[in-house]
């Protein structure tokens, strides 16, 4: 039995489910709002929520897509009993999560969120080229029109901020210096790009797409600022063996076996930008006929 940890409204999961059904593979899908109770029946641990009930030992593989297992915790009146029971329940939950992660899996709940700054450090150690970056509270050392800023946080869509009902933090070029100091901000050298490469990594294999976003002013800095009228041209692309090997090393160091990885191609160099373990890949999979949803279903 395959266990899918995802969210209810997640299109990629639906597409993988389609393939699981075609391949005749049984699965259990867990949503973000499910609360599980850990129970034991004849010495066998099972999890039970409002929607699902399954034995841990019946799970053969796990796909961590989004969300995650959440548990119901019992509370106790006596504060020290409560603290003790809290810890007991924590270890039981940890045991369940780690037991599931020992099975065949695609990504893990316990390391699904990446620290972008540490990933860049690791990427350099793995031998990948990384544009120069630094953190700063002012623009004193900054080179205007040659430096970009982007979010340190994963979540870049903010609801009800300023005049926007939904605002987004794209990668932006710094066009002027600031007089005042600000909160610690991530800055990076802007690399002139021949084109962008978005790669999908699964267990040592890489499927890449070249995104010709450099000729459109709208998508020049961030291809996610889609031009729906004249979309960027996207084609299958083969990354050099050396870049593939270094990416594989990086993924192994980070203990992630699936994710979307962004590169910039500049002359003969490939600059590593970032990894998104839970990124969207359906669009590129469809355009390049990669059938990545099938690859995932087959791997599980």
């Amino acid at each position: 039995m395959i266990l899918i940890l995802s969210t209810n409204q997640e299109t990629t999961t639906n597409e993988v489910v389609k393939w699981l059904k075609a391949l005749g593979k049984a699965f259990i899908r867990i949503h973000e709002d499910e609360l599980f109770e850990i129970k034991v029946y004849q010495n066998r641990i099972f999890l039970q929520s409002q929607r699902n009930r399954f034995f841990i030992e019946d799970i053969t593989s796990v796909w961590y897509r989004r969300g995650g297992l959440q548990f119901m915790r019992k509370e106790y009146d006596n504060p020290s009993i409560n603290a003790y029971m809290n810890e007991t329940q924590y270890w039981l939950e940890d045991y369940v999560i780690k037991m599931l992660e020992t099975k065949k899996h695609i990504n893990k709940q316990s390391n699904s969120h990446l620290n972008k700054l540490l990933v860049l450090e690791q990427a350099k150690k793995a031998g990948l080229k990384v544009p120069e970056y630094y953190l700063a509270e002012n623009t004193d050392q900054l080179i205007v029109n040659k430096t970009i800023t982007k979010s340190i946080a994963e979540n870049i869509i903010l609801k009800s901020v300023g005049s926007f009902s939904e605002g987004i933090l794209y990668t932006s070029l710094i066009k002027e210096k600031e007089r005042e100091n600000f909160f610690i901000t991530f800055f990076q050298e802007m690399i002139e790009k021949d084109f962008e490469v978005r790669a999908f990594y699964l267990h040592g294999k890489i499927w890449a797409t070249a995104i010709f976003s450099q000729n459109d002013k709208k998508t020049q800095l961030d291809h996610r600022k889609y031009n729906h009228e004249i979309p960027n041209r996207n084609v299958r692309y083969n990354l050099p063996k050396e870049v593939k090997e270094k990416t594989h090393t990086l993924m192994q160091q980070l203990d992630i076996n699936c994710g979307s990885i962004d590169f910039i191609k500049n002359k003969n160099d490939f600059y590593f930008l970032e990894i998104n373990p839970v990124g969207q890949f359906l669009g590129l999979s469809s355009i390049c006929n990669y059938l990545l949803e099938k690859e995932i279903a087959e791997y599980l």
């Binding site: 209810n8 409204q9 997640e10 299109t11 999961t13 639906n14 489910v17 389609k18 059904k21 259990i28 899908r29 949503h31 929607r51 623009t139 800023t149 982007k150 979010s151 340190i152 869509i157 903010l158 901020v161 300023g162 005049s163 926007f164 009902s165 939904e166 605002g167 987004i168 933090l169 794209y170 932006s172 710094i174 600031e178 007089r179 005042e180 100091n181 600000f182 909160f183 610690i184 901000t185 991530f186 600022k225 469809s286 355009i287 006929n289």
Partner: protein, 60 residues
Amino acid sequence: MKKKLKEKNKLPLTLKYIENFRDVSTEIQNSHKLNYLVSKEYQTDFLMRIQPTKPLVRLL
């Protein structure tokens, strides 16, 4: 830093460059009901009703 967002503490410069992502119109809010189905088989209430079209050239 031209203040688009008023906060008592300082914000990263990245937030100065915040852009509009989309307007939450009733159409978007209701698209969930219009374009998606509840599916027991797929264990979701978000199964897309219509498949997006794929240009023939991409099928080659």
